[in-house]
């Protein structure tokens, strides 16, 4: 395992801390660490067979990105998001993305190629039930970030991307629900249609519906999971 990580590091990343960040992010997103699991510098040094310098940098990065939380003098822990925090993230998405569709619907769409590609993708997904939750979650993220990119504001895209990284985990839950994939296809196509029709209010409404349905699904799913966990 250690060797694998190190080889990957040399090929894909410019330095060790970048590869550690990527590896840990991957593991956290896939729940390979339980929430609140503690990670210390010394422990990770051993696991990755590197010195503390790159590990320190990686932990700091992950903490500022919201994957870990720093506990002064007690190391770092995998951040567990509660109900309220998740809703907050969805709300920030809403704020940013309502603005994005408003921009796109107002001006005639630049980057028409990208938007057309989205239309094709999500039209074809309508009759394709082969995709797994994670694949759908990533495609969904891509849909929303492509729109932001088309709106042309790099700073906004960066903020949105930061949020989406943390939400991938919950998008996967979302797409676990029955018929969610199909509904998402319709909602996404509706958004694109309203943008093309320069219908600002309609585009906003469609986007709001799409995001809030996701939020509600996640909310319900977590509630269920907690109820089951505490029912023993």
């Amino acid at each position: 395992m250690v060797d694998k990580v190190n080889r990957m590091a040399k090929r894909q990343f410019s330095n060790l801390s970048a590869s550690i960040v990527a590896t840990l992010k991957e593991r956290i997103i896939h729940w390979q660490y339980p929430p609140e699991h503690r990670l210390t510098e010394a422990e990770l040094c051993q696991k990755f067979s590197v010195s503390r310098s790159p590990v320190r940098e990686a932990l700091r990065t992950l903490a500022t990105d919201g994957f870990l939380k720093k506990m002064p003098n007690r190391g770092y822990a995998v951040k567990q998001y509660n109900f309220h925090e998740i809703e907050e993230l969805y709300e920030v998405r809403l704020a940013l993305e309502l603005y994005v569709v408003e921009c796109l619907a107002k001006r005639g769409t630049a980057k028409k190629d990208d938007v057309d590609a989205l239309k094709r993708t999500w039209t074809s997904l309508l009759n394709d039930s082969s995709k797994k939750d994670e694949a759908l979650a990533r495609l969904d993220t891509l849909f929303h970030e492509t729109l932001a990119h088309a709106a042309g504001n790099k700073s906004l895209l960066r903020h949105l991307h930061a949020i989406n990284e943390r939400l991938l985990l919950f998008r996967m839950i979302d797409f676990g629900k029955a018929h969610r994939a199909e509904r998402t296809c319709h909602q996404h196509l509706e958004i694109l249609k309203r943008i093309a029709a320069k219908d600002v209010a309609g585009a906003r409404k469609a986007m709001q519906q799409n995001i809030e349905e996701g939020r509600n699904n996640v909310h319900a799913a977590i509630k269920d999971a907690l109820a089951r966990a505490y029912s023993f």
Copy 2:
């Protein structure tokens, strides 16, 4: 100077890199370094008489916060924002803050105390021309962040705060313009009034006007400055 920084470090900050971050941020905001000025680890080690470890951390932090840009193998440089990037920052503000006032205007305002305090502050500022640009810029920032805080979304507030830190410099330019302080007072009071009246559309409009006027002022000021700089 070195001693001063170190003493400050021990009192106010838990570690050296935090104090270096604060010091450099301060200097950058006040234009004590020319834009694109290069900063290297070794140089800062000398200036602050500390080792590379805290300096490295500080530089990384400032780079992710957008105060510095990293130039691979050539050190760091004070980030110079161009027209387009500044407009992007103002746009992200707009997206977030339109959402904030919408929230506040919809529900009856929680945190009424904070909002009332804002009203008092900006009413009294109407007839007070004693404040300097920087003081006004900071009060303006506080106004907008207090609203975000009242809306109750911590994540949104964090994103907004990150943007505002980078914009302080430009807010100072904004308030350099004649009558801008007075106009801002009226605009802020208008926003508060619309929120209190639960007039969602009016509150959004008032906020949009406030932010876009700021953006336009900064835009014009920079254009002038550049024109003067290139007129020789």
